[in-house]
Amino acid sequence: MIETQSLCVSLGGAQVVHDIDLTVERGRLTALVGPNGAGKSTLLAALGRLVPPAAGAIRVDGTEIGRIPSPDLARRLAILRQNAVIAPRLSVADLVGFGRYPHSGGRLTAQDHDIVRDCLADLDLTDLAGRYLDTVSGGQRQRALIAMTLAQTPDALLLDEPLNNLDLSHVRRVMAVARARAETGAAVAVVLHDLTVAARHADHIVALKSGRVFASGPPEEVVTPEILSALYDTPLEVHDIAGKRVVLTV
């Protein structure tokens, strides 16, 4: 679905992503992991056309991303940024409704309303639908932003650290929703810092270090003590508990 070729991205004059070739495929949940400053968020922003490439190419279904009209792209691709700040005083339902803007131009149809309701329910927000964003907690606001991104019903869903501020039950819920989107054919890419969560939910893991791909492959190949210890420059253990990989710091 999204494919990069020798992608380089600069932020504020400094190049932070170097020469990356990767594919975010449909029907698969791709996790981007790596230490702080590895370029995960910048890479994701570039995949979501929020930051233009300094060199190389990004293609969405074979078309150069910059050549796709923005409204068109917004129907096919949705991105949630980390620490997104919403200044206007909106209710949770209003915010999620704006996710339908690319499809309806803001005049919500019955179908749009159904989608908004489903997305609210998916993120356990039904009871909070009428509350204003400035009166809900950080985790609730984060869920509202995720719901808004989901309401775009994109083919490519890009989430940057969506689990920030979330409690355990909602971590599970968000990852389950992301998986469900992947299983129904969407291409999903998620920046994650919890390696255990990545190993558990991802089909494909891309590990970044210093702006380059350090390792990539299915969780079984990437989530190993050798690769992760080298990735983070610190000893890490990987244990099998009931058939699931758990990553521990020593």
Binding site: A87, P88, R89, S91, Y101, P102, D134
Partner: protein, 311 residues
């Protein structure tokens, strides 16, 4: 949205009062009708158009600056319009009104764009620096205007332009305000897009909105409405600040739903203050700008220190 019809009714009542209140006594004969047609009705219309335009311009500016404490009259747009007006008056004293209007609009555009560029450089974690910068920026532009005007003996005009007043409004002297009315109506069509712009550039792009284009449109509406107001009736402070903030506390910022209430409340506020100005020191008039200066500053202080709205 029960309060929009209520606001509409209130506005109608205020308009009737406005038609009735003034120095001349109304009578049911031809002379009375003439007074209404030539003076009272235009004055009422001018107050309504000014209020609605400035309130909507205020809310748009708050979305563009992503800060709820800015408005055109206190963040440089009005002062820039005044500066442009003085500049045109100095360069071409005999210029037609529309030319002065164009000069004021151009200056307001540049001034507002300058403010938004300045604001982008402020740290996002200190939002109150934005209105602060706006007030000082407006003050500097005002100082430049005063400097020019002082030297060329234009001070009496400055007084007229910088302190809004409707006592001079008559048939044939306020019609430019309908431009402001038309732009206010145009803003309704773009209400959703302005709300999205208020979410920031990345969120706008993410939703497929051309952020630059909506910024440019908003800038144009804010600048033209403000410039037209300054040229026609003078600067009216705080409408664009007080009205959107109070509506936002009650109903939020989903402009598609709240913009009508913002426009109606702005129109009502300015008209009410104008009526107050007519009766406060009858038969003399207190300019609406003076009354709103007091009222608006007081409400601003309350907004600054009030707890955030709940619910």
């Amino acid at each position: 949205m029960t309060s929009t019809p209520a606001a509409l009714c209130g506005l109608l009542a205020l308009s009737l009062v406005s038609l009735a209140v003034g120095v001349g006594t109304l009578s049911a004969d031809a002379e009375g009708l003439w007074l209404v047609a030539i003076s009272r009705a235009p004055r009422t219309a001018a107050a309504l158009l000014t209020g609605a335009g400035l309130a909507v311009a205020g809310v748009i500016m708050q979305m563009l600056a992503r800060n709820r404490f800015v408005e055109p009259a206190t963040a440089g747009t009005g002062q820039a319009a005044g500066l442009g007006l003085v500049a045109i008056t100095l360069l071409a004293p005999a210029a037609a009104l529309w030319l002065k209007m164009a000069g004021a609009t151009a200056a307001a555009l540049i001034g507002t764009a300058g403010f938004l560029a300045l604001v982008r450089r402020l740290p996002p974690e200190a939002p109150l620096l934005v209105p602060l910068t706006g007030i000082v920026y407006g003050g500097i532009l005002g100082a430049a205007t005063t400097f020019l005007a002082f030297e060329r003996d234009l001070m009496q005009y400055i007084d007229i332009w910088m302190n809004g007043e409707f006592s001079g409004v008559m048939l044939g002297r306020y019609e430019f305000l309908w431009i402001s009315g038309a732009l206010t109506a145009l803003a309704f069509a773009y209400a959703r897009r302005f709300t999205i712009a208020g979410m920031g550039e990345e969120a706008s792009t993410g939703l497929g909105l051309d952020y630059r284009r909506i910024m440019a449109l908003g800038l144009a509406i804010v600048s033209i409405v403000t410039a037209v107001t300054v040229v026609t009736v003078g600067l009216v402070p705080f409408v664009g600040l007080v009205v959107p903030n109070i509506v936002s506390r009650m109903r939020g910022d989903n402009l598609a739903a709240t913009l009508p209430l913002v426009a109606l409340s702005g129109a009502g506020l300015v008209l009410a203050c104008d009526i107050l100005g007519r009766v406060l020191r009858y038969p003399f008039e207190v300019p609406v700008g003076t009354i709103l200066g007091v009222l608006g500053a007081a409400v601003f202080l309350w907004l600054l220190h009030a707890r955030p709205a709940r619910g």
